[in-house]
Symmetry: C2
């Protein structure tokens, strides 16, 4: 039975376990620092499909299928999928999973979605609504560029603050029992909008949301940054990560810089891979969490990781209409044994 | 603490209460059979805004604000919003609620979203993760036509099987305690895809999903249609409703026709309002549930309503790519005292 602590934090006393996980990517992701951590790599961005949207769905299905196998389960054992992605109407997810015959709870939090699906899966497991479920997300560079910015064929220049949407997917199997890393708390974020309108600088738009959620969690739980091995944001990139560390000091007098890391700065090598401010897309943090982080939580080399996914909640239409970018950040506390 | 019954159904023994609700619409909705049941009516589809997307956000915010007031609460009392809509990246929701400073769990289930948000809010209330929350959705005829079909200015003909997206929003406040109608069970649906490709005949695409979820629920709970005052689908329209009643008999030998009703056939008068096969859009079932149904559950003239929201999970892109329409249906059992 979940318990609330402070104004925003939800404690999960049964500590739902992540009994399996998988992360998939394409050639570009395999060439980054975490390439060897991925469960499977597609040789190119098409993943053998005839449209970028289908390619993304194929990545998503592959991650879920591999995570279920990693947990030594079959699809019939899974009570629910908690899943979403960046594509209009979340079709990256729905077309990927439509043949799996598993109940699906569709979620949207832009690049914060992996934290949101993990949080929801963990809460619903804690309370007995589901016994075994999968939290997953995907993104794809080519489908995202086409939808949010320009078709690749246009050959537009990317600005230095822009981030590179990962062509990747991650999935985690959450269970009421079993061995493995566990989720001991969750926090659902509020929308923050500081009036940033540049859709090529989403790190700056999302940093204030990350700041709020991290500081809310620390305040609610009476903890300080050094209580964590890592406070890991999903996908602020270089611009947003720097802003976040400044903001937490300025607005809350909390310095997270010594334990802060960002999934967008981990998946690619910015010096050699031409990703500008870093990686992004829900698949970025999903892939980092479901490979590198999960392996270290399993080994015990990481014990406490506060993972805070960050999402920029604009659409191509809202940006063209001159709207600013509302942002959100959701969090889960991931623990190793 | 939630309990699973059968393969798909989630029982909620604490019976989370709906302590307030509100439904808003525009002039067209006010001229339908349920016009007098709405909490507030905007005099035209613009709702005083300069874009259709902003109009939808304004409807959504109005519904939430009025539902919270109906529950005699203020925004600060609400632990979370469970909300979503049909617009790309769910901006109908996020831009509507961005000033409310309430944690938001974004959800996507196309026109099934009101059932999905009610189910999630109820489960999370049952387990103590939230104490008071809001489940809400919105849709808007003009923003939906622009996004999914053609801009209104094009003046395209609508086919006889097409449904009319409601310009409406509904919100319900779900609470761990208090008086009012309550939610005693929920079911998360599986994706069903019978290969229907006509995006102007979504009733036919969604009927098989509704059939699965309704029959799963009846099988899991060992109940029959006559145990319910109403089995209410959200938005199959005339074509889909007829197909559903045929399908449940043909595939499961269950006849629901005597207790079946459909929100898409309740919100408008098809004879006089030119809505072709009926209403649709997440705002349609949200408005019907949060006005007409909720008032009768409060009075006790309805005691047991199995509400099954139905969603067609395509995007404009997937339809243009020749894909069929995956569909889903989620359900909640709404009870009057």
């Amino acid at each position: 039975m979940a318990q609330r602590q402070g104004k925003y934090t939800i404690l999960l006393p049964t500590e739902p376990v992540i009994i399996g996980s998988a992360a998939v990517g394409t050639k570009k992701e395999s060439e980054g620092p975490l390439g060897s951590e991925l469960s499977f790599v597609f040789s190119d961005e098409t993943a053998g499909e005839s449209s970028w949207e289908r390619s993304e769905s194929t990545l998503h299905k592959e991650a879920i299928t591999r995570a279920v196998a990693d947990a030594k389960l079959t699809q019939g054992d899974i009570d629910a999928l908690f899943a979403g992605d960046l594509l209009n109407q979340c079709t990256g997810t729905t077309f990927g999973v439509r043949d799996l015959n598993i109940p699906i709870c569709g979620m949207y939090g832009a690049c914060s979605t992996m934290a949101l699906t993990l949080a929801t899966a963990a809460i619903m497991t804690d309370c007995g609504a589901v016994r075994k479920s999968v939290a997953s997300t995907s993104s794809h560079f080519c489908s995202a560029e086409k939808q949010f910015r320009m078709p690749l064929e246009y050959g537009g220049q990317r600005s230095p603050t822009a981030q590179w949407t990962a062509s990747a997917s991650g999935a985690a199997v959450v269970s009421a029992d079993g061995d493995g890393p566990y989720i001991s708390a969750a926090i659902i974020g509020r929308i923050t909008d500081y009036g940033i309108k540049d859709a090529n600088n989403m790190g700056a738009a999302m940093a204030p949301a990350a700041c709020n959620t991290i500081c809310d969690f620390l305040n609610d739980t009476g903890t300080i940054p050094s209580d964590y091995d890592m406070i890991l944001t999903g996908d602020l990139g270089a611009v947003g990560a720097e802003l976040l560390c400044e903001l937490t000091v300025k607005e809350h007098n909390i310095d997270i810089s010594t334990v802060h890391a960002d999934c967008g700065l981990m998946l690619y090598d910015r010096k050699t891979q031409d990703v500008h401010a870093g990686g992004s897309g829900c698949g970025c943090s999903a892939a980092v969490i479901c490979s590198y982080i999960m392996k270290r939580l399993r080994k015990g080399t990481l014990k406490k990781v506060l993972f805070v996914g960050t999402g920029a909640l604009m659409s191509a239409v809202s940006s063209l209409q001159g709207e600013s970018i509302p942002s959100v950040a959701h969090g889960v506390l991931l623990c190793g044994r």
